[in-house]
Point group: C2
Chain length 217, copies 2
């Protein structure tokens, strides 16, 4: 158990260290290897039925970040953080999404498509009898699993992050050309390194007591 | 950079190791210290405006787990895993939730309530003009941030987990007496140790290529 106590202690320290950065150091960039690692983690995130009903946009063009900032109540993280990830959900799911998934399954698990037909049938049946709203809603939730893992991963590597819901999704969709791709912006995560001037790093974390959060039944 | 490469490699190995366990070893229990650590992690999860609009139920009573299994398409993880976490969202948010949060803020940050009145006003205003559906929807998304972090934490400590959406929420609510607490079951996570007999541990993970998941703009 010795090693696990050390790992537990370190993880809690990492999570205590993180906070939603408001002011980034514009001179510091996240090394490419770490961004690649974030992508590896996001790729492995589990999702409902394995469908991964989302896409991650990494916004590098300064003019586009400037434009998005206008639609984010002018929050400086949008332009000033090293990297900006926009988590986008598929607005609808159609036969093609399932067929692509079954095909991927067949390739990775080296299983002939014919052997997957019953599985494919049940998968499609269980998912097709949902309304479009329910599908989008579910796809958006999957983005939040990914967000949770990205935030934890960033903290582990002592990279700062700001999860952001304060933006106008319809404007993001327009600027990023998402409707044509059947996507919509769900949640945003700025990543980089805190500025020494960001006063929020000195504020204590406000969290409920465990007694108010957990109940044994 | 040496240390960080090792940390990155290990995290990817942990995430590759995990899979949605279907059959648990009923003899193995997660040590209390590790459960406490999971609770510490869940307590620190960031949420929209810091409200933590959820509660985590840990179901220990065997009869209740048996009952919940009936409403989970008879999936054995519900009864056989070492632990069962039910993530519950607040169905509505009222003045009290905000007042409690502001009060917690005042205590933890040692700031007089009067100094927080403008903050409290804006917080309430921005949240009150949402429909009940939008509020529940948002609260449920916050559960998924927590789910993402619990899954990653479990993998880091080599504890197995099964995120589960295949259950009838209204039945869970009934069995767990949630309506009286203004809560509803959002997502379930079984935790424990995989059975050697679970064939799924040998199946390759099916994930999209990075080219299909990420786009640089």
């Amino acid at each position: 158990m010795q090693g696990i106590f050390k790992t537990m202690k370190r993880l809690i320290e990492d999570l205590q260290w993180r906070y939603a950065v408001k002011k980034y150091d514009t001179n510091k960039k996240i090394p490419a290897e770490i961004i690649e690692h974030f992508k590896d983690v996001l790729r492995l995130v589990p999702t409902s039925n394995g469908l991964q009903p989302y896409k991650f946009l990494i916004i590098e063009t300064p003019e586009i970040r400037q434009e998005l900032r206008k639609h984010s109540f002018n929050q400086p993280q949008i332009t000033d953080a090293s990297h900006l990830f926009v988590f986008c959900s598929y607005k609808t799911l159609n036969e093609t999404h399932y067929d692509d998934y079954i095909y991927l399954n067949s390739v990775i698990r080296e299983t002939p498509m014919e052997q997957l037909s019953t599985y494919a049938f049940h998968l499609k049946a269980s998912l097709m009898n949902r309304t479009e709203d329910q599908i989008l809603n579910s796809n958006e939730k999957q983005c939040y699993i990914a967000l949770g893992q990205l935030l934890q991963t960033a903290a582990i590597h002592r990279v700062d992050a700001s999860p952001m819901e304060g933006f106008i999704a319809s404007k993001y969709d327009e600027v990023l050309g998402l409707p044509a791709k059947n996507l919509t912006a769900t949640v945003v995560c700025a990543l980089g390194y805190r500025s020494e001037e960001d006063i929020f790093q000195h504020w204590k974390k406000v969290r409920k007591n465990k007694e108010d959060l957990f109940e044994i039944i």
